[in-house]
Symmetry: C2
Subunit: 406 residues, 2 copies
């Protein structure tokens, strides 16, 4: 007998019927496995938008503190309905809001971080045969203010609860049946992975495979909580996210991620002196613009070229700021391109296998795809290419690294 | 400078626009009077029904405990929206759920009773110039379970908060502009009362003038909280519910109440012996049927007639039980009538004025209205008459006791 934490998102509990299906799944699972079950649920899909619309009618920029009071009601509705559905099936159940569990967070309203979770009451309820249903996405400060964890926060609640309860597995039920080698809409031959490491999943998630919230994967890795992504609607084993094992090391590359939301800007002919990177990036970050890749070319003639990527929405603003910096620093010129994409290969296999980068570059060169920017980390290589090459790049890399094969 | 508790019901906060109007009223009031304001709000009208419908889809008889978790979200939505609207007008505001205030109740889910209210945090917020917005209708047990106070519970929250905070006045804003001498739909000459005593209001409310929840009036009387009923939508002073004063004693009668929801049953020829009343009423109450008026006639030939009224919905069930009792006790027969109404005159003036009852009976006799049953208390006289006489009885009594005059 094990302890599992399940998490069901907004679409999985979006209607009365769906909540009843989830209840049936949980009862079947409990009867079949005898496992103790803790279930984390999100607000019914559509509710958060409905409430946000109401808030916007009240205040142009609704107070973060009151948004938390408002939005946290969404999950509270779901926990009560799910408990009713469970009881209707003869299964005893107990519901908890974040405040009732005591999921203690800091006071960063609308994006709070979990600091502590009390588990005594939940453990007592499990011991007497209950399914415990917990409102995701929400917590409470040590002063008693209601907080929320931000988008995808229910994943974080599930993983944090699993860690605190020392659960054997944390299952994230969603509308996809697992993590794929790449987006099947771009490469129909994409294959579902049975396993992936936390680190790979982090790189895949942050690069645009939006299945799990990054923070929840970090959390799961940090506390070594085996995490499984699987479908609410289709039976299957999903994808297990765990620590590296021997089987995994055999694979060179686990997946191809991509991101269409970036734009690239370059400041050329910058006088090469200490502090220049900071002089360029400080005004950007002060404007609340997030920077992703940064590349600085080798200096020639005592000048250097400085290139980085930002979100496409911030492109015009960034170009404007850079024009001012260009003048201040006496640089040559500012260039930019918002018709680019980032394509990345991700895999822990890279650590122990040489030649991955050259295989990647050769594959792209064979297809006539010009690489505009390169950035690497221990388990990923990212390139920026023209937007029009996205599909071609993803498919050729998917083929080249043997990801389509079973 | 005084401390006032205001309560706005579901129709008063039923839309975004209405919440903004309430915010504007509160800010105007605070600016004009400098009073400290605590505001109790209900769920937006329609929300409770929406949630109850969802619950019924989950469970035929939804668990009371989970209903409380579900329904308490309604007021939580309103407190956040009202705080946003207040902040948008530049007024600092703080929101509290029942659990955050610590409105401690017993664990009778869906009809909990308030046991204690912590006021330290609210007092601190008032001291720094905030308007404090509290979710009505809800509390928390000492073990941390969410509870609700039952229908009209927001009135109770407001009065209990006013008592705990030692407020100078508790104002219940509703969709009527005060308490009338009788229902204006029956007697268009009905007049709004400027003042009424707690006891009179209790008799009026329990007799069918459904403006305030009885429990909140009892509470206000017990803790001597001046209570004012007034309209959210129309300016005016409303009706002040308070303790008896000299002005009030001059009036004989304050109002005419009536109730169309009752039915009358009679068991005749019951052997007159000790314990017979209990033998009749015990099976009725065991069937969860509430009894209102009870009249036992003087015994003749060692038998007695026993008459009482029940809710019209329980009429058939009561008749059925009485048939069995009739056989058991060897009584003569069972009669019943569900085409009756109860009409009552209410007034503290009765205490010091003789002849009120005979004036009432004479008035009805003059109109040819036959009295079927009579019951009296210190400040009210109720009669049961045929249903068809309701309007005639109310209007002739309203005229006879001078209630139409200014």
């Amino acid at each position: 007998m094990a302890l599992h934490v399940h998490k069901y998102g907004g679409t999985s509990v979006g209607t009365a019927d769906k909540i009843q299906s989830v209840a049936q799944k949980l009862v079947d699972e409990k009867n079949k496995t005898g496992n103790d079950l803790v279930v984390v649920v999100s607000a019914m899909s559509g509710e958060t938008n409905r409430m946000t619309d109401l808030a916007k009618q009240m205040q142009t920029a609704p107070s973060a503190k009151q948004m938390d009071v408002l939005l946290s009601t969404g999950e509270q509705v779901t926990i009560s309905l799910l408990c009713m559905a469970l009881e209707d099936l003869g299964q005893s159940a107990v519901s908890y809001t974040g405040s009732q569990v005591k999921i203690i967070t800091d006071d960063s309203h609308t994006k709070a971080r979990i600091e502590d979770i009390h588990t005594d009451k939940i453990n007592a309820d499990l011991a007497t045969g209950n399914i415990v249903v917990v409102a995701g996405f929400q917590g409470i400060t040590s002063e008693g203010a209601i907080t929320t964890l931000g988008r995808g926060g229910s994943d974080t609640t599930a993983v944090a609860l699993a860690a605190a309860l020392k659960a054997d597995e944390c299952r994230i039920y969603t509308d996809v049946d697992g993590v794929y080698t790449t987006d099947p809409r771009v490469e129909p031959k994409a294959r579902k992975l049975n396993k992936i490491t936390f680190e790979e999943m982090l790189e895949m998630a942050s690069l645009g495979s939006k299945i799990l919230q990054i923070r929840s994967v970090e959390f799961a890795g940090k506390y070594n909580v085996p995490l499984r992504v699987l479908s609410t609607f289709v039976d299957g084993e999903g994808t297990l996210i765990t620590y590296e094992d021997e089987e995994m090391e055999k694979a060179l590359i686990s997946g191809i991620a991509f991101n269409r939301d970036e734009a690239k800007v370059t400041l050329s002919g910058v006088p090469d002196m200490p502090g220049v990177a900071s002089a360029i990036l400080k005004p950007i970050s002060e404007a609340n613009i997030e920077i992703d890749m940064i590349v600085q070319n080798i200096a020639e003639d005592k000048t250097t070229d400085f290139t980085f990527t930002v979100h496409r929405n911030d492109y015009q603003k960034t170009m404007h700021i850079l024009q001012n910096i260009c003048t201040e620093l006496g640089a040559k010129k500012v260039d930019g391109d918002d018709k680019i994409v980032k394509v990345s290969i991700v895999g822990v296999g890279m650590r122990s296998h040489a030649g991955i980068a050259s295989q990647m570059f050769a594959t792209l060169a064979d297809e006539g795809i010009n690489i505009r920017m390169i950035s690497t980390s221990e388990i990923k290589i990212s390139v920026v290419v023209d937007e029009k090459y996205l599909e071609l790049a993803v498919r050729s890399l998917h083929e080249s690294f043997g990801l389509s094969q079973e």
